[in-house]
């Protein structure tokens, strides 16, 4: 639990699950796949009502998911979708979709800055061994392929470490002084990116900055003028969706596909090859809507309790 999204997720899941009558115990895998596999083995032995898993590695945890389900324990994938095996429920914003939202915002920002969709984007990924960042990159570049006049330079910040992102930005600013947008795959990387921009003598708005996950620090940077867009992962809604369906998951009842209202966000449940999945779309946070209390980065959890789906 080394970033604010993960710690925020734990708090939100605890709160919403308590509202529907469940206690949550949290284990921290410290971003280590092997540790998470061991934790899964241990937890299976404890026979909980259900396991909520934010998989470090999308594929490596599949055997652990299978083992839990074989032991009769339902498994819920939270935020990180495992598509290589079947789970009982998946609640995600969709990493590919985050990339799509980011691409739409890049399209808008470049048009605003350069008159058309052309320019140079520095994409600062997280750790290159993490499929989460690779999926965002995939979604982003899928959409950006339609704009041949946009050059994308992609560099990974090893271990999601902020100073690595700062180093990449300071080097690239010299090699490519015409960079229009820096797009980091997490808000804490953007903080270091902004520090490098500031150290290079840039003023807010000289180079556009955007990132994803919607952490409080990103919203603060939008208010300070350094950041133009943050693609939010709807943390509260993702957690609330788990709580809304928890009774059905534990009772192993069918979850009907269709539209559901999750904390006011229209969300769709579909039956996928990997099981029932609710996708809650991420939103683009800009200076115009940054104070919207529904963004988890404003740290104002919903006052109304969630109710289980009948």
């Amino acid at each position: 639990m080394l970033d604010e999204f993960q710690t925020g997720s734990v708090s939100a899941l605890e709160m919403f699950l308590e509202q529907v009558g469940y206690d949550l115990t949290t284990l921290n895998a410290d971003n280590k796949t092997d540790l998470q596999q061991s934790q899964m083995n241990d937890v299976i032995a404890l026979a909980p009502k259900a396991i909520i898993l934010a998989a470090v590695d999308f594929n490596a945890l599949a055997p652990s998911v299978d083992a839990a389900r074989a032991a009769g324990i339902p498994v819920i994938e939270f935020d990180r979708q495992i598509s290589s095996t079947v789970s009982d429920f998946t609640s995600v914003a969709g990493t590919i979709e985050i990339g799509h939202v980011a691409a739409a915002e890049v399209e808008r920002l470049l048009t605003e800055k350069n008159g058309s969709v052309k320019g140079k984007v520095l994409q600062v990924l997280g750790d290159p061994g993490d499929p989460y960042t690779l999926d965002i990159q995939k979604g982003f570049e899928q959409k950006m392929a339609a704009f041949p006049e946009v050059t994308i330079i992609s560099q990974p910040a090893m271990m999601w470490e902020a100073s690595n992102a700062g180093t990449i930005v300071s080097d690239q600013l010299l090699a490519n002084p015409d960079i229009d947008i820096v797009f980091s795959h997490a808000a804490h990387l953007s903080v270091a990116a902004v520090a490098s921009l500031e150290a290079a003598g840039k003023q807010p708005g000289d180079v556009y900055v955007m990132s994803s996950n919607g952490a409080p620090v990103a919203l603060q940077m939008i208010r300070d003028g350094w950041m133009q867009v943050e693609v939010e992962q709807p943390l509260y809604a993702q957690a609330a969706a788990v709580a809304m369906f928890m009774d059905k998951i534990v009772a192993k009842e069918e979850i009907a596909p269709g539209e559901y209202d999750v904390l006011g966000l229209p969300s769709v449940v579909t039956n996928e090859a990997w099981g029932p999945t609710i996708k809650i779309p991420g939103a683009a946070i800009t200076p115009d809507n940054v104070d919207d209390p529904s963004f988890w980065g404003n740290l104002k959890p919903p006052a109304a309790p969630v109710t289980p789906v009948d």
Binding site: D3, M159, I168, A199
Partner: protein, 331 residues
């Protein structure tokens, strides 16, 4: 061999890492687009600040024949302490002092105090309790990083006080003030190692602890100071890291330990102790930063950085072995 030839050979052996650095800079300047510019060289020096300072403390303990694996976590803890106290966003308390510049010495003292305390604990366990330094400092590496996560709750502290950020933004001759702090540290500690009794004692203890003891050197005291210095210097590195990134996150500095080890080994410090000089370590740090920068500019996947670092360390150890063989023949 003629005395002149011998002197030249010894000079080359003593400064091998600087020649390697020069060669690497020339090759990259000729082959990597946009590499040859003053701004890039300034970046290399700036990016070396944190790792450089951290490597000094590590080198002191290794020269003394021991090990300190806790430097990375100590740096992270110092960065987080600085962030929590003096950053205004996230979990930062945004403490302000009057006059404002007081935040610089106060934050340094907080960091140094934290680092020195952890270093003293490491030293006590190794020297007084006679525990293995590798295990003691490995344990510190883990529990201190745990403290970083626990104290921050996984959240970050951002927007460091302007007086601190000034050190990262203000440039003299194109280089930020933080880099000068690192350079002053290298000059100061190099002088200490070369010209003071403490430095000579460290080398002697690292070469042969029993012989140093029999020669009347207060081995325990010198080693304890080395561990405390290592902790305090790592904390200074963390303070610089917080200033560089304008705050702290729970995983800040992750992976730096291995780069610090690489720099120390490439810089010619023997892992067996008793051998090595800090200017060589600084050259090792610059060498690693030069390679990182080249990889950034070439657009190579970052995995290559690790591959190249690993091969470079291996090459450095091979060269070191070759150096020792040549020196034996010269003797």
């Amino acid at each position: 061999m003629q005395p002149n030839q011998r002197r030249s050979l010894e000079f080359a052996l003593d400064n091998l890492v600087w020649f390697m650095l020069l060669a690497v800079l020339v090759v990259f300047s000729l082959t990597v687009p946009n590499y040859f510019q003053l701004g890039i060289f300034a970046n290399i020096i700036e990016q070396s600040s944190v790792l450089g300072v951290m490597s000094i403390g590590l080198a002191l303990v290794i020269i003394a024949g021991h090990m300190d694996l806790s430097v990375e976590s100590v740096a992270a803890f110092s960065a987080m302490a600085t962030g929590i106290l003096f950053a205004s966003s996230g979990i930062g308390m945004g403490i302000t002092l009057t006059p404002g510049w007081l935040v610089v010495p106060v934050s340094i003292l907080v960091g140094l105090g934290v680092g020195a305390a952890i270093g003293a604990l490491n030293g006590f366990l190794v020297i007084k309790i006679k525990m293995n330094a590798f295990i003691v400092t490995l344990s510190s590496f883990i529990w201190v990083r745990g403290l970083v996560v626990a104290s921050s709750g996984g959240r970050s502290a951002q927007n460091l006080a302007d007086e601190l950020r000034f050190l990262a933004i203000q440039r003299v001759l194109g280089i930020p003030l933080t880099a000068y702090i690192a350079i002053v540290c290298f000059v100061g500690f190099s002088f200490m190692m070369a010209k003071t009794r403490f430095g000579r004692h460290l080398l002697m203890i690292g070469g042969n602890e029993n012989a140093a003891f029999r020669a009347g050197i207060k081995v325990d005291k010198v080693l304890m100071i080395a561990f405390i210095l290592s902790g305090a210097i790592a904390a200074l590195a963390g303070w610089l890291l917080a200033i560089r990134t304008s705050g702290a996150t729970a995983n800040l500095g992750a992976g730096m330990l291995f780069n610090a080890f690489a720099a120390v080994v490439i810089g010619g410090v023997s892992l067996k102790g008793g051998l090595g000089a800090l200017p060589g370590v600084y050259a090792g740090v610059l060498l690693l930063s030069s390679i990182n920068t080249a990889i950034n500019l070439m657009g190579l996947p970052a995995h290559y950085t690790q591959v190249i670092h690993g091969l470079l360390v291996l090459a450095a150890v091979l060269l070191d072995t070759l150096k020792q063989t040549i020196r034996k023949k010269l003797a």
